[in-house]
Each structure stands twice: as structure tokens, then as C-alpha cells.
């Protein structure tokens, strides 16, 4: 199919196009220079914004943990459902929607690529089966490697090369896209109900520290030449005073930086930017974090922006989820995975009038506004931890408009109003910067060369929003901005129109992205692994790996690894 998107205001930061009025040509799923004007279907985008399809590098949308969240919360689904239509499947869920519904909702907002950030290797088949059932978007998943015994044991013995081999094997076996690190050391400690408190706290029963784990996996990541950096959820997440841990975490891989390329991504940074020593004297550490990030090029962040709503928190950081359960008294799910990882789930309501929640809301926005370079911080809610992804348009309005921030600010806890840094921040992001934070920057840090831009050869994933950047002032007309981003006029996936006026017009499947590491033959290594297998897991070697034919549409990214 051939398409001409005519006369739109094109925002394509990777190609330095800022709201220029121009045509975009699409053929066979790619952006091209020219199409046959007689045959092509024409979309009149005059007065509208034309953007690359949205990219989300951190949203919990599939796998055992997400599904446990769905199971736990029928009350989340009862009033929030979608009917079956001629083209779509039905579904339900506000904060943890069912798979089809997840795909449709992303597509309606103009998103076309999303990444599931936590895949327990033993349950990778489950994650991929759910991704197969998540339509409309390309998707991938990060393999949880933090406290896998094989890694910990290699580190105990200082065998970094062996670490690289294991990591390569498991990424391939799980069809993962990146290395995910969560509360390093803390997860293993949780195996006996404990946690670690700092980067240098030894992991019980293993002679290693969180600092060593982070540094080692960062080296592994560089060694393998993975497209994304290590994707890290810090130690002490969600605890007052943790901004110091976050600063130390970023510092600890400073010397591993590769020229100007980032080597570490600190995810949902809001949860790791708390100053103070307890909940009563909680303050924002956003300024310190932003200052560090502004002065260093080896780190990127995403927001983890809090939304005032009822949501479901879920992470592999099971000891943190236990703390949250004790704090709130809310129901609690825990699921530890042998030799690998853990996870926890607690329903949570963020309230405007609650001092801590309001501070968290403020800290997320402060981070996004204080980090100067939009290529370094991305828009997320750590869906569904700080709120569901459907709130992104609301966050965009807060970022582009001081007035929008003020209107929410008035309603939050008075104590938080006094302590928040927000009133002192005048910056209002431009729509160009929003484009970077919601697609181009994310695609770049993920190493997705064909996504996040509209240059010739890019995947024809395009979002068209009914917003005329010449006619409106986002600062004043923030409600218009919010409305426009909520429902794309058109979402184009792989060159096909899949959404029109916020309605799904076609159900498409989308591919699963994974890193296909090309290594030299590892016969000896595999034999050794096979021997050890039954001592570590309760399943057989032959039944562990995810076969490529399990993926409905497989899109391997080939990477030459030097092992």
C-alpha cells in the first residue's frame, strides 16, 4: 500500500525537522522518498502534527507479574471494559488492562513500539505468549539478570568473560531485548526475606556487592554491544534519602562510559529521587539528580511520573513491594522465581492531599524540567506503577504548560506545595521536545534505528494529531494539547492505517523485537551449563528456552558479539 501524508506539520527531531510543513511518503511499510501519486492514498494532514509513532521504553504490560496483577484486581476491571467490535477483541482493566485492550489503547494514542521491562527468564514463554496477544504495536522485553545465581557466582570468582557467555546465552534463550537490573543484591537477599541497604552491602551467601553486580553487567552490556544500555531500577527505591544511592549508582559506572554514548539507564527515576530521612521530612532530590545528569553524558533517565489515581504497583523488587504492603495494609502478591528473581504486587492509590504522593508527583515533573536535554529523560509512568499509560497526554500538558501544572498544583497537599520545587521552575517544554521525550529519544537510546523518526528507510510508524502548532499556544491551550494526544487522528503502523479518529480500524499484530546475538560456537560452555541445569532449576534444559517460532511475528536484531 502507498500513502501520502500531505501538508502536515512534521516533527522529526532525529532528522532535525521541527514543525516544517511537508509531505511524508509511505510504501510497503517504509518511509520513502516518493510514491506513485496516482495510486497512493492521500491523507490530508493540513493543520495537524505529523510525528513518528510513539515509543515507550518502560511499561509493564505482559508476563507473569502483570497477569498476577490482573488476577489480583477484579475491582480494577469491573467498571473499565471495552466491548468487542467488528474489528477488535473485548477486554477490561484500568491500571492492568488485558492484552488486546493494552494494544488498542496504545495505538489510539499514536504509540507503535512498547517495551516490557521485566521478564523472569524461567517464565519468558509466558511473557512472549502475552506479547503475541498484544496487538497494534511492536514490542520487546528486557530479561531480568540481576541476581541470577550464575552471574553472582561468576562475580564471586571474578570471571567476567564467563558472565558475558551466560548473559549471551540467556538473552538468546529468553528472546530478550536488553539487560534489566532491579535492586541488585536485594532480590537474592529477599529469598530469605531480607534486603540490601547500600551499594556496598554484601549479598547474603554470595561474596559480592550491588556495586560489583552493576559494574559487571555494565561491562557485559558493552562487551556484547547490545543496542540498549543496562536498564536499572536502583537499590533503596521508594525510600527517603535514596537520591544518594541513585547518584552513587550513576557514578559507579562513570569510568565505563563509551565516548558520548550512554551506558546506563536509570528507570522511573522519580521513585529514586527522594531526599530526607523519613516520610515526614521527605524532600525532592530532583535538583541534585538533574545537575549530575546535565553534567554527564553516560546516563539517561525516564520519569516514572505519578498520576493521582487508583493503580497497581508491580516490580521485580519484591522486598520493596513488601514494604509497600506493610505501609498501606493493601493486599499483596509475591512471586519469587528460583535462582533468578522475584516480584511483588500491591494495589495503590495516589492521593492529591497526601503529602508524600503529592511530593512524588512534583518530583517527576521537576526531573523532566530540570534535566536540560530532552534526549536524556523520557516520559513514562512506569506503567502501571505510578499510573496507567493512558495518562501520558495529561503529563504532556503539565510539561508544556505552567498553567496546567498550576491548576493541579492548587489541589495538592498544602505541605507539599510549600516544599515542592515546581513553583520555581518556569520552563515549558516545546512540542518538539515532547516529540523527543515520547518517541525519538526513546528509540535512540533503545538503539532502534528504524523507529522514532520519519527519514527515508524508517519503519512507516506514524502518528497524526489534530493540533496546529501555528494556531495554538500550548502554554495557554494545554487542554487542546491533552485532547489531541489522547486520540490520534491517524495511527499508521507498518504503512497501514490502523486508527482513524481515535477508533481502531484494523487489528494488526506487530512484531516482537529481540536481540539475536551472533557468537562463536559455545559447545563446551553449553555442555557445562547442561550439567549444572538440574541443580539450579526444576525444569529441564531442553524445555527452558523460548523457540523463535513461539513468537507470532519475530523481528530479531542481529548483533555481532565478541565471544
Amino acid at each position: 500500500m502507498e500513502l501520502i501524508i500531505r501538508n502536515g506539520f512534521v516533527f522529526d527531531p532525529l532528522n532535525k525537522v521541527e514543525g516544517e510543513k511537508m509531505d511524508v511518503f509511505v510504501k510497503d511499510g517504509k518511509i520513502v522518498e516518493k510514491v506513485d501519486e496516482c495510486k497512493a492514498k492521500v491523507i490530508d494532514a493540513s493543520g495537524m502534527m505529523v510525528l513518528p509513532g510513539g515509543v515507550d521504553l518502560h511499561c509493564h504490560i505482559a508476563g507473569s507479574e502483570v497477569n498476577a496483577g490482573r488476577l489480583l484486581r477484579p475491582e480494577d476491571h469491573f467498571k473499565n471494559f471495552e466491548r468487542k467490535t467488528r474489528v477488535t477483541r473485548s477486554g477490561s482493566g484500568h491500571s492492568v488492562p488485558s492484552t488486546f485492550t493494552t494494544g488498542y489503547r496504545y495505538a489510539r494514542m499514536g504509540y507503535t513500539t512498547i517495551m516490557n521491562p521485566a521478564m523472569p527468564p524461567l517464565e519468558a514463554k509466558h511473557t512472549h505468549d502475552e506479547l503475541n496477544d498484544t496487538p497494534m504495536v511492536d514490542k520487546g522485553s528486557y530479561t531480568l539478570l540481576t541476581d541470577w545465581w550464575f552471574i553472582l557466582e561468576c562475580l564471586e570468582n571474578g570471571k567476567i568473560e564467563e558472565c558475558v557467555r551466560y548473559a549471551a546465552w540467556i538473552l538468546k534463550a529468553t528472546k530478550g531485548y536488553a539487560i534489566k537490573i532491579v535492586n541488585p543484591g536485594g532480590i537474592e537477599a529477599w529469598g530469605f526475606g531480607r534486603n540490601v541497604q547500600s551499594l556496598d552491602d554484601p549479598v547474603p551467601y554470595f561474596n559480592v556487592t550491588p556495586r560489583e553486580i552493576i559494574r559487571a553487567l555494565c561491562k557485559v552490556n558493552n562487551w556484547l554491544g547490545l543496542p540498549h544500555t543496562i536498564h536499572l531500577h536502583t537499590n533503596n527505591l521508594g525510600k527517603p534519602g535514596n537520591y544518594i544511592t541513585t547518584l552513587e549508582t550513576m557514578k559507579c559506572v562513570e569510568d565505563l562510559a563509551l565516548k558520548d554514548k550512554p551506558v546506563i539507564h536509570i528507570t522511573h527515576c522519580q521513585f529514586s529521587s527522594f531526599k530526607g530521612s523519613n516520610w515526614r521530612n521527605l524532600r525532592s532530590g530532583a535538583e541534585e539528580i538533574a545537575r549530575y545528569v546535565n553534567n554527564h553524558s553516560h546516563v539517561t533517565l525516564d520519569m516514572g511520573q505519578v498520576i493521582f489515581t487508583n493503580t497497581t504497583t508491580m516490580t521485580a523488587d519484591a522486598p520493596f513491594q513488601f514494604t509497600l504492603h506493610q505501609l498501606t495494609g493493601n493486599k499483596w502478591m509475591n512471586h519469587d522465581v528460583e535462582t533468578e528473581t522475584s516480584s511483588g504486587i500491591v494495589p495503590f492509590r495516589y492521593k492529591r492531599k497526601n503529602f508524600v504522593h503529592a511530593m512524588q508527583w512534583s518530583i517527576g515533573l521537576e526531573l523532566a524540567l530540570l534535566v536540560d536535554n530532552p534526549w536524556k529523560i523520557f516520559l513514562t509512568t512506569d506503567h502501571p506503577n505510578a499510573g496507567p499509560f493512558t495518562a501520558y497526554p495529561r503529563i504532556i500538558s503539565w510539561l508544556v504548560s505552567r498553567k496546567a501544572r498550576e491548576s493541579t498544583f492548587k489541589k495538592i497537599s498544602l505541605k507539599a506545595q510549600r516544599k515542592s520545587l515546581l513553583p520555581s521552575i518556569t520552563r515549558e517544554l516545546t512540542l518538539y521536545e515532547i516529540t523527543i521525550m515520547t518517541r525519538s529519544g526513546q528509540a535512540k537510546v533503545l538503539g532502534l534505528k528504524n523507529k522514532g523518526h520519519l527519514g527515508v528507510g524508517a519503519d512507516a510508524d506514524v502518528a497524526i494529531y489534530n493540533l496546529n502548532p501555528e494556531a495554538i499556544d500550548p502554554s495557554k491551550d494545554y487542554k487542546e494539547v491533552r485532547k489531541a494526544f489522547r486520540n490520534a487522528v491517524y495511527t499508521i503502523k507498518n504503512g497501514e492505517i490502523v486508527v482513524k479518529n481515535g477508533e481502531i480500524t484494523k487489528h494488526v499484530n506487530g512484531a516482537t523485537l529481540w536481540v539475536n546475538l551472533q557468537t562463536s560456537e559455545q559447545k563446551l560452555f553449553n555442555e557445562k551449563l547442561k550439567e549444572k541445569f538440574r541443580d539450579y532449576w526444576t525444569v529441564e534444559y531442553e524445555n527452558y528456552a523460548v523457540e523463535e517460532n513461539r513468537l507470532k511475528i519475530s523481528n530479531p536484531i542481529n548483533v555481532e558479539a565478541k565471544i
Binding site: 502483570v66 476491571h77 477490561s92 482493566g93 488485558s98 514463554k125 505468549d129 529469598g191 526475606g193
Partner: protein, 433 residues
């Protein structure tokens, strides 16, 4: 030519032991290594006299053999004509077949329910009330020093559970473990226990709540609970508090006795409370080999684990209203498709009576009690023997089911049969509009 298949996943119970070695000779299974008695019995004898080898349609008191096309056409017609059809079973088939089943139920606007409804359904309700503190079975094997089986008899019902995952297994941190059994009779498992607590029937809730009091170091002002001296319960409470990693497994002895989901609620609450003191997990002993998988697929596709009603065009869930037995007892359904289960043999008589009174389609490899009373029988392959697929172990670990022998000539898998029905239903609907 003998061929040995290694790492075969056993399609019997939710332990899903995946270390079976199956020898096939001339297309027939001749030997099974590592399997329990159930496993051997199924794998060696599945292809018995009860096997259905042709699609059947009822003609009066007899069945007539027809083609799959004919049977599928009739089945699709019956289902599309019905107002409120029930789609029941699913615990003994693959996740791939279940996916099609849900799509079919949605397309027709019926209600779909699994055998959880008569088994661990109350566990789900308990979990939805208070949560669940759990882990995979390997975590138990590596770390647990205290194992409790409550209302469950693994030596008989899940024969390799203790050998592979608990008392008789070896892990990284633990080799010696204490075994406690709580039951209403001295089971085979109880005979192996370090501590056996025999409680009065239907008093689980009281015992669990008493333990919740005792682990907080509070006192009980009674001498006995459920016929057990408080001193015995104190001993158990002490074992629980003092272990490094405890694991409680519960069976239908807890879920299907008086109190039902309240019992599960109390058991989970006890374990949750224990986590303030030490590390403890709890896990339901799921029965059929893929009942967990059915819960999983239902949940990710619809948001709800069982008893899902599509009659309004979107998933609704209200066990008691939208669950199979209740619908049958209220005589609301007007047709049914049964896949991979035998409700006539397992449901209350009144419910089964309503089921067979209306058009009934059965997809099953066997001439089961339900198939005998059906209007249409669509014979299928045995998944895990003659067809591949995915199943979930009781601890949510997905495992591949293998195809090790060819099915009888012309016999289709559950997944294929359901896809054909779905295709035909869509065709009928399109023609009608």
C-alpha cells in the same frame, strides 16, 4: 525402530514433571522412565477401547458416524442459534486451544468457565481478597526447611511433588526439612510427617485463625481448637516462626470444605503475617495438568481467571452468577460446548441434568460419561502425546507439551477443531447479516 524422547512433560497433574523419558516403538509408546504411576498409566494406556475415532452425531438413542466437516457445521449451527451457551472444561488441553476457545465464546457471546469452578475457584476468590505470597517450586526446593501440606495428600494425588520439590529433594541451601501435615484423616502423606495434626472436618478456618493468634505470641483462652489441644498448635506455631523458609501447600481439603474461600483467605493471611517474622510462601496444589494455564490465558485475554460471561459483548465476572454450576442450576444455558473435561461425572446431578437436556457438543479423545450423553462428539488428539502445546505448572511456570506419537489417522487436535468451529460460526454470522 525404537526412539527415545527425553525431557517429555507429563500431561497428567499440575506438577508437570518434565523429565520423562519415553520410548516409542513403531509409533507406539512402549516405555516410560521417571514417571509416576499416573504418568505411566496414561502414557501407556491412553489409546484404549474408549477412544472415539470418528465424529459422531446423535440419531435417537444411537450415534451416527459423520465427517468432521458435517459435525463442525452442526456444532456451529447449534452454538450460533443458542442465546446463552456455556463453554466448559479447558483444564486438560493446551493454552493454544484455550485461546481459540475464548475467542469462540466471545464471538458467540456465551459464558466460558473452567474446572477451577469446582476445584480451586475458592482459592482465586481468596487471592482476590488478600493476595498471595508465593514462589516457584524451585525456590522451595532450594530454601525451605519447613513444609506443610494442608488438606492435600501429595503422595497419592501428586506423587512426585515431594520427591522433586519438597521433602525428599535437595537444594542449594537446604537438604533437611521438617514435614507437617494437617488433615481430617491419617493419609499416606501424614504417615511420613514429623508432625501430623488431625483436625475435625470443616474446622480448618478455626485452626488457621488460632495459628494467626499464636504466631503473634498472643494467648488462646480455650483448651482445644477443632479437637486439637492448644499446646499442639503452639508447637506448630513455634515451628512456623522459627523456620528460615516455610512453605504451605493446600488442596481441595481446604478449598471445598465449609468456609471455602474464607478458609483460603485465612490461610493466606496466616502466611502473610508470618512474613513479618520470617520467610514463608503458600501455594495451591492445582490438579489437572493445565488448569493453571487456563487461569492464565483467561486472565490475560479478559482480565478474569474463570467464569467469564461475554453475553454483553465484554467480559463480565461474578462467580456465583457467571459460574457454570450456578448457570446450570438456574437452568439458564441453552447449549453447551465441553472441551477436555467430563462434567457429567463431576458436576452436581441437577446441574448435569440441565447440561444434557440442551444441545451438547463434546470435544474429547474418549467416550466420556459426558460424551455418551452428547448430541455431537468431536474426537480429538491427546495434547502432550499426539499434539504439542503449552501448559502451566501449579507455580505458574510454563512448559512445552510435546508431540511424541502420531494421532490415529484423521484425528484433529482441540485447537484445530475449535478453529474450524470458530471459522464456521463467523461464516454463519456473516451469511445471516
Amino acid at each position: 525402530m525404537m526412539e527415545v524422547f527425553k525431557a517429555v512433560t507429563c500431561p497428567v497433574c499440575a506438577c508437570l514433571c518434565d523429565d520423562l523419558e519415553v520410548t516409542v516403538d513403531k509409533g507406539k509408546i512402549v516405555d516410560v522412565k521417571n514417571g509416576c504411576a499416573f504418568s505411566k498409566s496414561k502414557l501407556l494406556n491412553y489409546n484404549g477401547k474408549q477412544r472415539v475415532l470418528k465424529p459422531l452425531i446423535r440419531k435417537g438413542n444411537d450415534f451416527a458416524e459423520v465427517s468432521y466437516d458435517e459435525a463442525v457445521k452442526q456444532a456451529a449451527k447449534l452454538l450460533t442459534e443458542a442465546n446463552y451457551p456455556l463453554f466448559y472444561g479447558w483444564s486438560m488441553t493446551s493454552c493454544e486451544a484455550i485461546r481459540v476457545g475464548i475467542e469462540l465464546a466471545e464471538e458467540i457471546g456465551g459464558v466460558i468457565d473452567t474446572t477451577s469452578t469446582i476445584c480451586h475457584g475458592p482459592s482465586t476468590l481468596g487471592i482476590q481478597d488478600v493476595g498471595l505470597v508465593s514462589s516457584t517450586l524451585g525456590q522451595v526446593r532450594h530454601r525451605a526447611d519447613l513444609i506443610i501440606y494442608w488438606g492435600s495428600n501429595p503422595l497419592i494425588a501428586h506423587p512426585r511433588h515431594m520427591e522433586r520439590y519438597t521433602v525428599f529433594s535437595k537444594g542449594r541451601f537446604q537438604e533437611k526439612r521438617k514435614l507437617v501435615v494437617v488433615d481430617v484423616r491419617e493419609t499416606e502423606t501424614a504417615k511420613k510427617a514429623d508432625l501430623f495434626i488431625r483436625i475435625e472436618p470443616n474446622k480448618d478456618f478455626e485452626v488457621l485463625q488460632a495459628l494467626r493468634v499464636l504466631i503473634r505470641d498472643d494467648e488462646l483462652d480455650v483448651e482445644k481448637v477443632a479437637g486439637i489441644p492448644v499446646a499442639t498448635l503452639e508447637k506448630l506455631a513455634e515451628m512456623m516462626v522459627e523456620c528460615k523458609f516455610g512453605a504451605l501447600f493446600f488442596g481441595s481439603g481446604l478449598t471445598m470444605t465449609e468456609g471455602k474461600n474464607r478458609n483460603v483467605d485465612a490461610a493466606i493471611s496466616l502466611i502473610r503475617d508470618l512474613n513479618r517474622i520470617t520467610k514463608f510462601i503458600i501455594m495451591p496444589m492445582r490438579g489437572h495438568f493445565n488448569v493453571t494455564g487456563a487461569d492464565m490465558v483467561f486472565t490475560w485475554q479478559t482480565g478474569f481467571p474463570y467464569a467469564v460471561d461475554f453475553s454483553m459483548g465484554y467480559p463480565r465476572y461474578n462467580p456465583g452468577e457467571t459460574s457454570a454450576i450456578d448457570i446450570l442450576l438456574r437452568q439458564e444455558s441453552d447449549a453447551a460446548l465441553v472441551v477436555a473435561s467430563d462434567p457429567v461425572a463431576t458436576l452436581p446431578r441437577k446441574a448435569a441434568e440441565h447440561l444434557v437436556k440442551n444441545p451438547l457438543i463434546v470435544v474429547d479423545p474418549h467416550m466420556s460419561a459426558t460424551a455418551k450423553l452428547a448430541d455431537i462428539v468431536l474426537p480429538s488428539t491427546f495434547v502432550g502425546i499426539e499434539a504439542k502445546g503449552t501448559a502451566y505448572r501449579m507455580d505458574n511456570v510454563p512448559l512445552p507439551l510435546k508431540k511424541i506419537v502420531e494421532p490415529p489417522t484423521g484425528i484433529l487436535s482441540d485447537e484445530d477443531i475449535l478453529s474450524k468451529i470458530l471459522f464456521e460460526v463467523r461464516r454463519l454470522k456473516e451469511n445471516a447479516s
